[in-house]
Symmetry: C2
Subunit: 336 residues, 2 copies
């Protein structure tokens, strides 16, 4: 890969680990390397703008690393939003883009509101469906907040991540009744059949399902990307074919729209108000989205990132795939 | 009011009833009339564009009927989106705008994707808060869908409407554990204290709370509208002062962005695929957002709208406030 692309990919994955979102960080590296080596992702792929107008663009990811196409698209949306107030950039021929919140943070750290989303191969049911019909279609936003860190939401439209269901299965535990449907399509508290049968339930039922359909539309339908079952599985397929993921990035520039310059001061005040709101018995603090992740990030910048064992195991796999030493020898970074 | 404004307001409320969304239809008319008569809403208020650019605008609602400012704003967003691909128009000095889905339908029936949202006086808790911190902040989208009716989601960011909690209280029933917090801030299945104490819980916990904060930002903070507790209660206050609600409207024109003209055909195919997906035992049909409402609408166009007793009672109040006969004499519409 071009060094610039490799550096970007590393920054996305390491930042995600620094936030404590270990499901979407360097744990995925071995899977991406596998695709890069056998053709499902193109190391030299270059995202290009295939169509654009005043406040919109469509990017063809050229089957590059999902992070490369996604950061390219968000930066294009930011540039257009600085001119037009808001912009939409959709992406097709992309792949798994990791943590949706990385791209919205790209916007927020330059003073813009960022919104990102993507589709994926189905793993989530519709209300009443027997199996999965839509991906866990993530949604993120980041809002610049003056002296506070940006508010940063990064959520899937399923009730929980599939990994949580699988972990309960491994531990032989029951799960809450709104996480999973079984092979008959009915809610179940028994995770023992997952992921071979069943599907995750959408967050808040028809609400999560509805939001997921908007994400499928803006990421998949409007961009010309693959949709629903035509999206490839970046993790489970043979790695030879592009996955065809779609994604969508929106940027809004408050300095254009609220030119009095008081937008961030008002967001600060909103956060201060929420922090100072009365708390339930036994609750220490009220949080805004991203606050836990930023605290994890700040600790990581000082102490390093304490990687969970499953991440270390995946990094060992990545190291052996690429012939580098792991942990790195003295002078390089090392897992603690 | 100008006849044009009155006709628009009537169309919003009657359309909402036709969808079967009786909580937000003509039931609200008496409350709006009260405000229009004593100053909290201005019958002759004219929404104006106070700032704008290529793909954005800010509208001052001039404390007009919320529907007047909202339809004006969505139409402005649609006109800009036809030029720029996407547009954002925020509104301040508005009031309760009724069903968010009316405005997104304005966009979808002309082939655009519409998104609408608004803030409101707090009634919903944050995870861990003792009381309400944000409004039930509604979110709607409508997506044009070729031979199908537009996909139309109109949801609040609370788990359920406060009216459902109150109805359970009236019937002496318990409620599910994710609907309400009590006076101590802890989840409760006992609705007997609501609405005097307690607050609704956000849909899917931190996810609904997070989305609500984005809505508060785009509707309230970015527009210069009132936010959180500074928003007036259109229903419960003395009616003399404007409520200061904010709202936000986005329009996206697929004919600009996907010029091959196949957007709606692809949305059709997505809906067909969802309809044909395997169903859980005992489930007759899989639906997409808005489908139940459109079926109610189609029946209403043929058979009229069967108004629930609480709506009829509120219409009687509206009739007595305005000195018109209710039900209307022969030749006018009448409740069935």
């Amino acid at each position: 890969m071009e060094e610039e692309d490799a550096v970007l990919g590393a920054d996305v994955l390491a930042t995600t680990d620094a936030w404590g979102v270990f499901t979407h960080g360097t744990k995925s590296l071995a899977g991406y390397l596998r695709r890069l080596r056998i053709g499902g992702m193109r190391p030299k792929g270059r995202p290009t703008v295939v169509a654009e107008g005043g406040a919109w663009g469509i990017v063809d990811g050229d089957s590059s690393l999902g992070m490369v196409a996604s950061a390219f698209a968000m930066r294009l949306a930011m540039a257009k939003a600085r001119q037009q107030g808001i912009a939409y950039v959709g992406v097709r021929n992309s792949c798994h883009f990791g943590a949706a919140g990385y791209y919205t943070w790209l916007a927020a750290r330059e003073g813009l509101i960022g919104i990102s989303m993507a589709n994926d191969i189905p793993s989530v049911a519709a209300p009443g469906s027997r199996g999965a019909v839509l991906g866990s279609n993530p949604l993120s936003y980041a809002i610049p907040a003056g002296r506070h860190r940006p508010m940063l939401l990064d959520m899937s439209t399923a009730t929980v991540a599939g990994g949580k269901v699988y972990a309960a299965r491994t531990r032989g535990e029951r799960i809450p009744g709104n996480w999973l449907i079984g092979g008959d399509g009915r809610p179940t508290t028994d995770p023992s059949g997952y992921p071979e049968t069943g599907a995750l339930m959408p967050a808040a039922g028809h609400k999560g399902y509805g939001i997921s359909l908007l994400i499928e539309t803006l990421s998949g339908v409007l961009t010309g990307a693959s949709t629903t079952w035509r999206v490839g599985s970046w993790m489970w397929d043979d790695g030879r074919s592009p996955t065809g993921h779609g994604a969508a990035f929106l940027a809004i520039d408050p300095r254009v729209i609220a030119p009095s310059g008081d937008f961030e001061r008002k967001v600060e005040a909103l956060i201060d108000e929420l922090h100072a709101s009365p708390r339930a018995d036994g609750v220490d603090r009220l949080l805004v989205p991203g606050e836990m992740e930023w605290e994890h990030f700040d600790r990581a910048m000082v102490q390093g990132i304490e990687l969970p064992p499953d991440v270390v195991a995946n990094l060992e796999k990545a190291a052996s795939l690429s012939g580098v030493q792991f942990p790195c020898p003295a002078g390089g970074a090392s897992a603690t």
